[in-house]
Amino acid sequence: MIIVTVEDQKGRIQQLEIPEDIDLNLMETLKTFQYPMRATCGGMGLCADCHCRVIQGDNLLPEQLDQEIMTLEAVPESDYDSRLSCQIKVGRAISGLSIKLLGPAE
């Protein structure tokens, strides 16, 4: 089981238990848990709808690629702990991650 803690746009905090064989990125995974995520670009790292803040577990995440950095640079409220959840592959490596969702809820 992969454990990810999520605070949604309304401040509700939930601990998700994600099966290890899931073959999705974090944005898609959040959608399967019924989080309303607009995800205009469908996960290409272009729209920033899946913008989130990493509260804990920054060290568990892969390095940002240029596309993610470029998109986040264009988001006024992004900060040093910002990530695009569609650019994070869900796997055992990210268990223990804690994030806060910042993008629009559909």
């Binding site: 950095i69 470029m70 640079e73 264009a74 409220e77 629009p104 559909e106």
Partner: protein, 336 residues
Amino acid sequence: MEKIVTDICIIGAGPVGLFAVFEAGLLKMRCHLVDVLPQVGGQLSEIYPQKPIYDIPGFPVINAQELVDGLMEQIKPFNPTFSLGQRVDELEKLEDGSFIVKTFEDTEVHSKVVVIAGGLGCFEPRKPAIENLEQFEGKGVSYMVRNPELYRDKKLVLAGGGDSALDWTIFLADIASEVTLVHRGDSFRGAPDSAEKVVELAQQGRINLVLQSNITAISGNGRLKNVLVVDKNREQQTIAADYLIPLFGLTPKLGPIADWGLNIDKSAIEVNTIDYSTNIEGVFAIGDINTYPGKLKLILCGFHEAALMAQSAFKFVYPDLKLSFKYTTVYGVNTF
């Protein structure tokens, strides 16, 4: 005020709005399109112009901008007219059943049918979270550069790290008396040429480059006067400014469409799948903006919806004529 009279007013010039011109044209209905963006193509030209699309029938792969260009060529014979860079704010139904569509910029389109092809909504500038920002809109704060001459010999602060922030910094450096670019990052990922040029201008002392910093507050007496910038180490500095131009790109917002009396479910317009008509007679909604059981937000689906919409719209434009369905292969594309 500009007044336009046409058969169909299409709100949104994305791929679906553009293809609707073709379907309407086959049935001899004229179209006028309005879009808030300065260019046609909707999400394709604004978000992913250079990305390949693989699910357009007949094109194993086509670039988004190529598809938009192809659509423009395909509808050319029907002479559509455009109001670009204009946001539709109001939709009014007249007693005779026709419509007036009004834009923020004071254009009025009078038509027999309105087709809303508004996608995910109006593309609007992303605004930084500065408390009293909106208070200074039009009084020193603006989100795009419409007329560069406005900034001649003025003090400007630009914010952002993307291509448009870089390009405008370079352009305005020759016009304004003082240009400051504030950027959250410590480098730029945009076009390398522009990034280099901005760094060069800063080294020559022709612009001020404030990196690893955010704008946290603005102030002034009715008009913008000062911009407060805080860096990574929480050090503050106040920059005197006549204008602040935050350039953080665009994002779609449903916007005015929500206030037109249409049935809306989760930011989309409910339609009847027989012809994609809405709850207001004579108003249709096609493409990403509509919702119905089984809806898929795909270009392909929007094209289908446009074809069915046109068959029904015909009855509003030519109430006394009978419509018989024809293939383009039989009669070709008859222009007007």
